[in-house]
């Protein structure tokens, strides 16, 4: 049974199972909270300049939190997303985690500011090619990094895991939809199970919250390529919705949310099991353009800017500036909720973008709900993925036929191609495995996915 009995019940700021963490933050309990993400300006990250890096992170955090105080924002989530080197050298990531957390503690003490820290470890496993996902040094580093950051003060653990990305990175640009669906329905699933079993273990051991994962490396890669005109938008839309079963695995293994911002597949998972979710839209234009700036907010519990580097703008440093923008976006949603207009407001967020782009259409709560139902009702993940893909093709076809969604001729042509593929895809994934093994030989290692 889904956590909600209809898509009409799902709205921003409110989840069935709120998460309490950090300095008294409660996520999904009636209020949308900003999740601020920032990264360094153009500096090298290495032990040599550890002092500079630590100072930078402390400074940025201070400015972000001070902005919250200035604008009477009571709760905030801060995300530290590791760059490569911070996971590669777990001590490095941990010390930065500690610095940020200490700064948050100071603000809690001094101003009563309620804050929580999400630490997102880098999935450095795909550093080796073909990637070693279960064995070897990299995976050890990843887990060690989780442990050390949890110990150093992280409140929420996340990762943008990459199981199968070594194939989809090529399959997406080559339009090999069969391979994409195979990865999302088989390989990524197996990797998520492996990875999240351990992350949940670690979280329990250290008493922190296992947050969630995102299909960033698949769906957001596709979105970026579609933005650049490299691949059709309908294909990016398909990758988007077909990511739901994969990212759901984290929760099945014990993740509690808040799911991670760049997972646009999150609403379906919230509908499935009631975990709070983070989403990013217009305020993440600092990190990437997107054709779904408002609709992304429809059911969010945290509202994020994804990532902004610390450069100076006239009104302050960019992280402060985006904190302010997030705060006002949240204030508006929360004002609607307070006046019992949350559902009407959600509908406006949806109406704003629903037909701007097929990818935005995917974020329509009605469609998300149907994707959630597929995951609920179809037994194995591979068939969930295939059915979701069919849902995408059918929905876009329908909306196009009825004139609400406008597609170029080339998009239409591709929609036809996608339909051909998903309606003729083998029911037994082992048939695709042969194709994948041949076409992507040398790109991946079967045993690293527990494949025969």
């Amino acid at each position: 049974m889904l956590a909600y009995s209809s898509p009409e019940e799902v709205v921003f700021g409110r989840s069935k199972h709120p998460v309490k963490c950090g300095f008294n933050v409660v996520i999904g309990d009636g209020e949308v909270i900003p999740e601020v993400n920032f990264t360094l300006p153009s500096v090298k990250v290495c032990r040599d300049n550890l002092r500079e890096i630590r100072k930078l992170f402390r400074d940025i955090t201070t400015r972000v939190l001070m902005k919250c105080v200035e604008l009477s924002q009571e709760q905030v989530v801060v995300e530290l997303e590791h760059v490569f080197e911070m996971t590669q050298d777990p001590q490095f990531g941990a010390v930065v985690t500690k610095d940020i957390k200490e700064t948050m503690a100071e603000f809690h003490e001094k101003y009563g500011l309620r804050s929580a820290l999400r630490v997102t470890v880098a999935d450095i496993r795909h550093r080796t090619r073909p990637p070693r996902m279960r064995n070897g040094e990299e995976v050890e580093k990843v887990f060690e990094s989780f442990r050390m950051c949890a110990d150093a003060g992280a409140d929420i653990l996340s990762i943008e895991s990459t199981g199968g990305k070594e194939i989809t990175d090529r399959a997406i640009v080559e339009g090999d939809v069969e391979a994409i669906l195979f990865v999302l329905g088989v390989m990524a699933i197996k990797d998520m199970e492996f990875l999240w079993r351990e992350i949940v273990n670690i979280s329990e051991r250290f008493g922190v919250v296992p947050g969630g994962d995102t299909a960033c490396g698949f769906a957001n890669t596709a979105m970026q390529l579609a933005n650049m005109g490299m691949i059709p938008r309908v294909m990016a839309a398909l990758v988007r919705l077909a990511s739901v079963p994969r990212s759901y695995i984290a929760v099945k293994m014990g993740a509690k949310g808040p799911l991670k911002d760049c997972g646009y597949e999150n609403p379906a998972i919230k509908m499935l099991c009631g975990v709070p979710i983070s989403m990013e839209g217009k305020a993440s234009a600092c990190a990437h353009s997107s054709p779904l700036g408002n609709i992304a907010a429809a059911t969010c519990d945290l509202w994020s800017n994804e990532s902004v580097q610390d450069v100076k703008l006239l009104g302050g440093d960019a992280p402060e500036v985006f904190t302010e923008i997030l705060i006002y976006d949240c204030r508006l949603m929360n004002a609607a909720a307070k006046e019992s207009r949350a559902f009407e407001f959600r509908d406006l967020l949806v109406a704003s973008d629903k037909y701007l782009d097929p990818q935005a259409l995917m974020l329509d709560p009605d469609l998300m709900y149907r994707a959630a139902q597929i995951v609920e009702n179809v037994k194995d993940p591979y068939h969930q993925v295939v059915e979701t893909a069919k849902l995408v093709v059918d929905t876009i076809s329908q909306e196009t036929k009825e004139g609400r969604l406008r597609l170029t001729d080339s998009e239409r042509r591709w929609l036809g191609k996608l339909g051909d593929t998903v309606y003729n895809i083998p029911s037994d994934w082992s048939e695709i495995l042969e194709h994948v093994e041949k076409r992507y030989e040398g790109f991946f290692l079967m045993e690293e996915y527990g494949l025969p």
């Binding site: 990250v45 080197e85 795909h126 990175d169 640009v173 005109g229």
Partner: protein, 214 residues
């Protein structure tokens, strides 16, 4: 000539078997291999390029056509041994150390190859030593570096400095790209050029090598 037209069409439509057998027929008909290459295969790729720029084709179709062209060209190749075919230029590409992003780089490589350049891909997370050694060995006309993170872009400068130390800087044009990079940064670190996207990268390499547009 009708067969040549059919050949370009086969490339455009990504039909490998058809393209290969058309090449064989044309050779059997004693058509000049240069003509088959230029008026058939390259003509086809030009049509693909046009469609891509017009938004009618996407990358998968470009890559497929490129694959068909190469496959068909394999049949022709031996006929050129005597005259020797000049590639448009050699390029070495990689994503810099600490950075695991490779799609952007791969697209640039695919587009460059489609445009007739020889490209050697050093992969991702490439350190300056590796860049320098490959420049030394391969002697490319252009070295391309990609970075997707603010924290890895400074590494581009190190590579350029290393090239200078090794006395190689003047022998190769250096171009850079990636989300956090812009023209200003490229000039600051002493690169020869910056490209906003893959299409621009091809134009840039052409310009730097003074190669006429196909």
């Amino acid at each position: 000539m009708h067969e040549l037209h059919l050949l370009s069409q086969a490339v455009l439509e990504g039909k490998e078997d058809e393209a290969r057998s058309l090449v064989q027929n044309l050779l059997a008909m004693n058509v000049n291999p240069s003509r088959i290459l230029n008026e058939g295969l390259i003509k086809g790729m030009d049509m693909v390029g046009e469609k891509f720029r017009a938004g009618e084709y996407y990358l998968p179709e470009v890559l497929l056509a490129s694959k068909v062209m190469h496959s068909a060209f394999d049949i022709l190749k031996s006929r050129f041994v005597d005259v020797g075919i000049r590639t448009r230029g050699k390029v070495v590409m990689g994503t810099v150390k600490g950075d695991l992003h490779d799609i952007g780089k791969n697209i640039v490589i695919a587009m460059l190859e489609g445009a007739g350049f020889d490209v050697v891909d050093l992969g991702v997370d490439v350190d300056s030593r590796t860049f320098v050694e490959n420049v030394q060995e391969i002697e490319p006309h252009v070295l391309g570096m990609s970075a997707l993170l603010t924290t890895t872009m400074p590494y581009m400068k190190e590579v350029i400095e290393e090239l200078e130390r090794e006395g190689l800087r003047k022998r190769v044009k250096v171009i850079v790209g990636g989300a956090p990079v812009n023209e200003r940064f490229a000039m600051e670190i002493g690169a020869d050029g910056y490209a906003e996207d893959a299409g621009e990268a091809v134009q840039l390499v052409r310009k730097l090598l003074d190669v006429e547009v196909g």
